[in-house]
Symmetry: C2
Subunit: 235 residues, 2 copies
Amino acid sequence: MLKYQRIAEDIEHYIVHNRLKQGDKLPVLEELRRKYEVSKSTITKALELLEMKGIIYQVRGSGIFVRRHKRKGYINLDENQGFRSGLDEFQLTSEVLKLEVMNPSEEVMTNLSISAEEEVYYVKRLRFIHGQRLCIEESYYKKSVVPFLNEQIVSESIFNYLKEGLKLEIGFSDNFFHIGKLTKTEANLLALRTGDPGMYYESVYHLTNGEAFDYSKLVYNFQEAQFYLQINSLS
Amino acid sequence: MLKYQRIAEDIEHYIVHNRLKQGDKLPVLEELRRKYEVSKSTITKALELLEMKGIIYQVRGSGIFVRRHKRKGYINLDENQGFRSGLDEFQLTSEVLKLEVMNPSEEVMTNLSISAEEEVYYVKRLRFIHGQRLCIEESYYKKSVVPFLNEQIVSESIFNYLKEGLKLEIGFSDNFFHIGKLTKTEANLLALRTGDPGMYYESVYHLTNGEAFDYSKLVYNFQEAQFYLQINSLS
DNA sequence: CAGTGGTCTAGACCACGGC
DNA sequence: CCGTGGTCTAGACCACTGG
């Protein structure tokens, strides 16, 4: 593990452990530099990481402050699935509806940039949060990247398996969503009524080398799904 | 303007101007360094910025590549309002329903971290996209930060005024949303039916010094609203 | 004007990809 | 093995905040 990652982690732990609140001041840069015995740039890099994660903000001429404006019960879109699995705080379980190897449809071919010959795993799950129906999930994984899946893996956290088991390095994702009315089939699965509100969410996940390996389509239950998102300015 | 910002902008223009596509390779780091006559770290910083913005991705041992998986007609949540105003591509107009100075409600006090005495501007607008009703927006601006607003400013892009006119430096925002059914009042404004799907979106915008200055509540029309979001891994 | 964070440099060394 | 991006250092200088 790299120095700046270790330092970032340490500072994050420090914030959590000391129950620091929004706006609380952290030690100044020079002090951190002395504490960790690294160069200024390394500390800067660590703080930059924490800033991107929405954990702190830095004010020139003033100091480094804690950013903590989350609301309880909201799912963080950034750490959804592929990234920092912040869903641990939620009791998330799954019922596997389908698991098979297949050839991709046009839609899947487009989103994963593959040909009709390349096989994919198809996984359809019903996901529960605190025992309530949260969403229907249909995922397609490139078989060349994810060579094996079974009922057990798929009934737990797939992304955890991809990262811990297969050591896949996930780089970035493209996400699209809109609101609509549930079809009869969708409503049945979510124990709602036809025409009730639903959020339709699509993701394409890429490895660090840019290769797309997962295309997922989700339909969220309007009664259970609430999200939050921290955005930085990036001048 | 800083060196690394200027370089990042230049590279972005280069990508757009040469119509580079997803996966196209950019010149290698050393070449860019020579071209711009700066140190390696400065180029790295510029590329990091572009990476965060979702414009490129870098692969160690391989190169720098263009990332361009947007879908047309989707609103980018990152560059919504406060940030890179990418809404220019959409024909966005507003009808002002209300504009007044008032004392904050409990809800506004909490979200802006202010007391009951501190006055705020209240703006209610109906926003149109390509002439269609996109959303109802209710915004509260701290009067101490935004001392003046009038009908004309408010009928155009408020954030543009805040940045260009007032020279406010926006640092980050916290965003929350969920799905629900429209009330009668909401449905009337959006020309939909009571009980139709809607997306309820709340934002709190902060200056670079961490001070919250805008709390906004939006209700999106399910027929017009579709969003995208690029997420990076941030190990 | 002292304190604090931000930019930039030059250069050493490391880690990964692909031939 | 070589080319490529990533980390890290030490230090100079700059820009903003707040008393």
